[in-house]
Amino acid sequence: MIKAGQNDQAMQRIDAVLAQKPRDAQMRFFKGLILTEEGKSNDAIQVFLHLTEDYPELPEPYNNLAVLYASQGEYEKARAALEMAIRTHPSYATAHENLGDVYAKLASQAYDKALQLDSNNTAAQSKLALIKELISVNGKPGSSSTTAPAPVAQSNAKQPLVAMARSTPPVAAPVPVPAPVPVKAPPAPPPPAPAPVVAQAAPAPVAAPTPAPVPVPAPAPAAASADQQAVAAAVNAWAAAWASKDVDAYLAAYAPDFTANGQTHDQWVAERRARIEGKSAISVKIEGLETTVNGDHATARFHQDYKAGPLVANSRKTLTLDKVDGKWLIRQERSGA
């Protein structure tokens, strides 16, 4: 995805920042991602490993460490890392799903030994999801929109991270996030190059009001409540489609170019389809739904009880929706504290 030249430039900028601020979690996280993309797994492992040592409260480095271990066949290490990710953030959905895959892989290895099979050649490599942004620290729902202009996004993503790193016990989401205090030494990247990294790193505000704060609007009662009802209906329909494993209806609840975890839309669709169809039964319950509507943009927050067989994940979730041709479609999905 990222061209080598762009990687080099991005890396130079990251190293420049790290030269001044060697502990900067965000930059080190980016560095780990780039090393991963370049296939330098061992270097990437070192980066994420040290991040987990310096910031043990962040789940993302553990998750990515696990992805790298798993890609090297080190499933026990992957399992340990994912269990740490979940210990720090019990509702971290990606880590839960990855851990499920790692358990399945370890189980398959044990079965091979039990039955004297050699299925390692035939068994599909389990693909774990790499996390491409440090979001667990960020209580803010990114507002709508697609490609973010780099500088804003970066300083935006970075700010809460730093705040987080200071407040040792992972703070729950709705911490009032200070307005983006301009952080010094932002990499100030030249426009073309940074786009990929940055865009993935922080799907952050664009045109929308920069802070995109949580309890925003003072909506006009009547109109807003009609819109709010429409948003709530869209969210409920989405949950119902998911729970009934109606993948087409589920996917139709998302914007046509929806992406997550740095995947392309098609990759994301394929992963969701595989994961939903792979479950024997799914239960999704939504509680405490709160909707905020601002023109054609809306935010829905709720508590999600997800069950698939023995897998249980209770999490807070925030959906950002856009009104397109009269329909509310999910633009962004975030879970975790």
Partner: protein, 403 residues
């Protein structure tokens, strides 16, 4: 998440298995005071299933990993590990929830699991004695009793003539079960045998593991009944597996190498009885004592009637079905009458008596002893074997021969 996982396990087939790991185990284990047995995989398996029952999936996984560390080729332990890992992502439907594995191998491992747990749960209590071991002679340190239905070998120690439980091990029997009748039927014989020699590991292919203990199948009773075949051994397992399936051999009794090595220490060649039964009967000590006293009484009557030189009384102890290796009752009786005519006195001493009930339907006891015979015109000492059976209310001799 934890309780949801184990709840799924509890509801799944494991139900059948963990019932076997219920608290009775603890009591049974308590009986093993004098046992020399080392760390036992079946005890560990039982703990694992008990942990699952208590919803302690992580503890169960930890115990399983310990077991694997101890016995790296224990396939059943890997199967359970697979299940415990999979329990985090999918509901278990059976022991061995793997999809796409060869069903027959899976089934074998399930059977092994059930047999091991059952045998551990049903371990004989201290006041129970296998009915077969009626009397053990002083020079015989141990006796081995194999139960093919339970896939289990039990070692008993001779404490002043009374058998005391020493150890028990999982075993593999013939592919087609017990009751061997003819060469090549891949069955394990049922009967009273002894070990004839020790074949060390160095002289055998890896297939036999730690070594082999051939037994004397077919014995004289098998031959009288036309049973054929040969080469029935107790032996170990190949190096790539800790245990074999419950029914997998060509008729041999297969033990784990560790267990076989322990058994080596218990076996006296030509002395230690190896009794193979398709279903061991256990007697309470008092019942065992009564049964043994009744046969001891019959033998003593046979001995004194022989000394009395009243041939009619002496022959009254022999069954109409009697035969020796060469004679039926008629020839035997005629010869005894003839010999007796020349006797002025007879003195019989019997020492080192062994009484072993024959498994199966024959209601028969194999008695061996050292017989010292003295008379006015002849004396000798022989090792004798007699088969005694219940006919009506009295014991009768079916077979008599010199070893």
């Amino acid at each position: 998440m934890k309780s949801a996982v184990s709840g799924a396990i509890r509801r799944a087939l494991w139900a059948a298995a963990f019932l076997l790991a219920q608290p009775g185990v603890v009591d049974a284990a308590g009986h093993r005071g004098s046992a020399i047995s080392v760390v036992e995989p079946d005890a560990q398996l039982s703990s694992i299933f008990a942990a699952i029952d208590r919803d302690q999936v992580d503890e169960a996984l930890q115990l399983t990993d310990q077991l694997i560390a101890q016995q790296p080729n224990f396939r059943l332990a890997y199967l359970i590990r697979g299940d415990l890992l999979l329990a985090h992502t999918a509901a278990l439907t059976n022991i061995g929830s793997v999809s796409g594995g060869p069903p027959e191998r899976l089934q074998e491992l399930r059977e092994e699991a059930i047999l091991r747990l059952k045998a551990y749960r049903d371990r004989p209590a201290a006041n129970m004695v296998p009915r077969y071991l009626l009397e053990l002679p002083p020079d015989q340190k141990t006796a081995v009793v194999i139960d093919t239905r339970r896939s289990r070998l039990y070692v008993y120690q001779n404490v002043n003539g009374r058998p005391h439980f020493l150890a028990d091990y999982y075993i593999t029997q013939g592919k087609f079960g017990a009751d061997k009748a003819k060469e090549g039927d891949q069955r394990t014989p049922v009967g009273v045998y002894h070990v004839t020699s020790v074949l060390p590991k160095s002289e055998l292919p890896d297939f036999y593991g730690a070594g082999a203990l051939p037994i004397n199948y077919p014995n004289e009773w098998d031959r009288l009944n036309g049973r054929t075949g040969h080469g029935i051994w107790l032996h170990g397992t190949p190096s790539d597996t800790y245990a074999r399936a419950p029914k997998a051999s060509d008729g041999c009794v297969v033990l784990s190498n560790h267990d076989l090595r322990a058994l080596f220490h218990s076996i006296q060649i030509g002395v230690t009885p190896v009794i193979i039964s398709d279903d061991i009967e256990w007697l309470k000590f008092d019942d065992w004592n009564a049964e043994r006293a009744s046969l001891q009484h019959a033998m003593e009557a046979w001995r004194t009637d022989w000394e009395s030189r009243d041939v009619g009384l002496y022959l009254s102890h022999y069954s109409k079905r009697f035969s020796s290796d060469t004679e039926a009752l008629k020839q035997w009786s005629d010869r005894k009458r003839q010999v007796n005519a020349a006797k002025e006195w007879i003195k019989i001493d019997v020492r080192n008596v062994s009484m072993l009930r024959y498994p199966g339907n024959d209601d028969m006891v194999v008695v061996t002893f050292e017989q010292s015979y003295r008379s006015n015109n002849m004396s000798n000492t022989v090792k004798k074997t007699q088969y005694w059976a219940h006919e009506g209310k009295s014991w009768k001799i079916l077979y008599e021969g010199v070893v």
